[in-house]
Symmetry: C2
Subunit: 167 residues, 2 copies
């Protein structure tokens, strides 16, 4: 295989060559990640390590080791996903913990006030209805095991609580 | 350097030797992560790649490449931290979005009811106080930029909302 084949252009080949040569002169080693293709033309992420026993004149001979790191990359992606889910769940847990007690108090006192005939039941119902809604949200939170996100103003994203699921 | 020096015991040396030999016979390559030490005795995480041009009899000669991956591991850890923070923030954003409106309704109607002299102001204050507390929580959430966690019953952790900070 002509080594130029793995570069997209002669410029890339020349730039990479210079960087590798400089590394080899300096430390006897050059390594980097690179997108390569298998014989069946499927792409894979490779970690390429070039060493030379001739540090003074590395062009004399080099040993090139190519490690297929696509599985490692996949594993990393999975790990990142789990890590983010962990953040989502820990925050959901915190909210349930913080909000449930004040919410119970609101619900309790608004139920208590229902006995008072001087109060319009509609006004009280509006309070209760919203407190129940907040309760629905926290219940939903405590059942999330996987999540979806939504775009949100300010170039950010938030968890889609109603679209996220439970197992 | 005697190759046994990098193993903790003769058993480790023998087990590793068998695994590497099997890999080399099978694919001409064996690679794994390993805790090594630099000359100055500081530990580092290494990716070790062993290849042999003699697949039939790998013991004839092997090429061992050792890559210091401690920087890569550090970068991965940082990335994981950012990913988890992202999950925390996206959940915090969702909560603020979901809860603020019902909360405003509760606060609005409980303020309205204050004009009704038939209601004990204490009961109403209890509702308002808790609604304000929930409001404090959501305000706190919207300012979080870094977080701490707390142990929580059920062998889990939750975000420490009051201990987490803003920049």
């Amino acid at each position: 295989m002509n080594v130029r084949m793995i570069y997209k252009s002669n410029e890339d080949f020349s730039t990479a060559g210079k960087l590798i040569y400089t590394d080899l002169k300096k430390s006897g080693k050059s390594d980097f990640d690179f997108d390569l293709r298998r014989k069946d033309n499927t792409p894979f992420k490779a970690h390429v390590i070039i060493t030379s026993p001739h540090q003074e004149n590395p062009l004399e001979s080099t040993i090139v080791t190519i490690v297929d790191i696509s599985q490692r990359e996949e594993a990393q992606k999975e790990k990142m996903k789990r890590e983010k889910l962990q953040g989502v769940l820990e925050m959901a847990g915190a909210i349930c913990h913080e909000i449930n007690q004040p919410l119970q108090t609101i619900l309790g006192y608004s139920t208590l006030l229902e006995d008072n005939e001087a109060i319009s039941p509609e006004d009280l119902q509006k309070i209760k209805k919203q407190a129940i809604r907040i309760g629905d949200i926290t219940r939903r939170l405590s059942n999330i095991t996987r999540y979806k996100t939504l775009e949100y103003p300010g170039d950010t994203r938030i968890i889609d609580i109603w679209g996220s699921g439970a197992d």
